[in-house]
């Protein structure tokens, strides 16, 4: 059996490995975190588009603050929530570069709401990757603007109450209403099928930005197993049962073929 096994493991039989752009350094993310999958997808898409030397990512404040350690492209770290404003400057100075921001819900939907909405509304040719796990992961699981009603966090231990905390915000729906956006979609990465769909969405958004069609927002509904206090497998189940009904997946706007 070993001889057969060894015959299979050779370069010509390779069907899957992590993208070359992904560094060997272990990621600091918790086990099962969706960030890793999205990092991989971004790396794969950049490689397929052969944009390794012409991509600039803008990383947020949040768990993904160290994204520059994991993907071997150019990165710029932005002040909290200001990634779309920084990306605007980079793209205007370097129109031939692929410029994207990578932001969580605390960065994008809370402190950075103004920058996000105005960058999208101006139709900057950038892509915003929005990781929505409905909680503040890095700081210890506090309530986020996207936390679901009834969801328990460190700062709403009895569950989010609309009267006290207001309602969860649907940034992606807002973005779809803006004239400047060309592609607005909501994806997830909990299964092979959804990961493939998310990859196609990221590719489409990146291509639209290089074609100068306007801004794109790709929301990835994600898990935070540490913040939700669930195992990675159970966190995926919880996401399917609770997040998807409120944050339905699919394209909200697609003007890329016009």
């Amino acid at each position: 059996m070993n001889a057969e096994f060894n015959g299979i493991i050779s370069p010509e039989n390779l069907v899957y490995k992590k993208p070359e752009l992904m560094n060997e350094v272990p990621m600091h993310y918790c086990p099962g975190c969706s960030h890793g999958v999205v990092h991989k997808l971004i790396g794969e898409v950049i490689e397929e588009m052969e944009m390794e030397e012409k991509t600039v990512g803008v990383s947020p404040v949040g768990c993904a603050v160290f994204a520059y350690r994991y993907l071997d492209i150019d990165w710029q770290e932005a002040a909290h929530g200001r990634a779309p404003a920084v990306a605007t400057g980079i793209k205007r100075l370097w129109p031939d570069r692929l410029v994207f921001t990578y932001q969580g819900d605390g960065d994008l939907a809370c402190i950075g709401t103004a920058e996000t909405i105005h960058a999208l509304n101006r139709g900057e040719n950038i892509v915003i990757i929005f990781i929505n796990n409905a909680i503040y992961g890095m700081t210890g699981g506090q309530m986020a603007p996207t936390t679901l009603l009834g969801q328990k966090t460190a700062t709403c231990p009895y569950g989010r109450d609309a009267e006290l905390h207001g309602y969860p915000i649907k940034i992606t729906e807002i973005a779809a209403q803006l004239e400047g956006t060309c592609y607005v979609t909501r994806q997830s990465v909990e299964s092979v099928a959804s990961i493939r769909s998310a990859k196609r969405a990221i590719r489409k958004a990146f291509e639209a930005s290089m074609a100068g069609k306007g801004s794109s927002l790709v929301e990835i509904v994600s898990t935070c197993s540490s913040g939700w206090k669930l195992s990675p497998v159970k966190a995926n189940e919880w996401m399917k049962n609770n997040m998807f009904p409120f944050y339905p997946k699919g394209d909200l706007k697609d003007k890329t073929s016009e």
């Binding site: 899957y16 992904m22 099962g32 990675p232």
Partner: protein
């Protein structure tokens, strides 16, 4: 009529034992091991290599990019 035979290589030093690959594998080829790596995480091990069809589901869902997948047609 040949059949597809797969094989995977797990980077056990970087594996964090999230077990998402165990759930994704349609053939129950991998399982959580009892040992831990240098970071203190339990890691997945191949328990049933003969069953692997090289579908790459485990590699695709792995958040840390720890799994490399190979596939070859074996003629009977």
């Amino acid at each position: 009529m040949g059949r597809m035979k797969g094989a995977i290589v797990v980077d056990t030093a970087r594996c964090k034992g999230c077990a998402l690959c165990v759930q994704a594998c349609p053939k129950a080829v991998i399982a959580m091991g009892k040992r831990v790596n240098v970071s203190g995480y339990p890691y997945v091990e191949v328990i049933c290599a003969d069953e692997c069809i090289g579908c790459a589901s485990c590699g695709i869902v792995c958040p840390d990019g720890c799994i490399t997948v190979y596939r070859k047609r074996i003629d009977d």
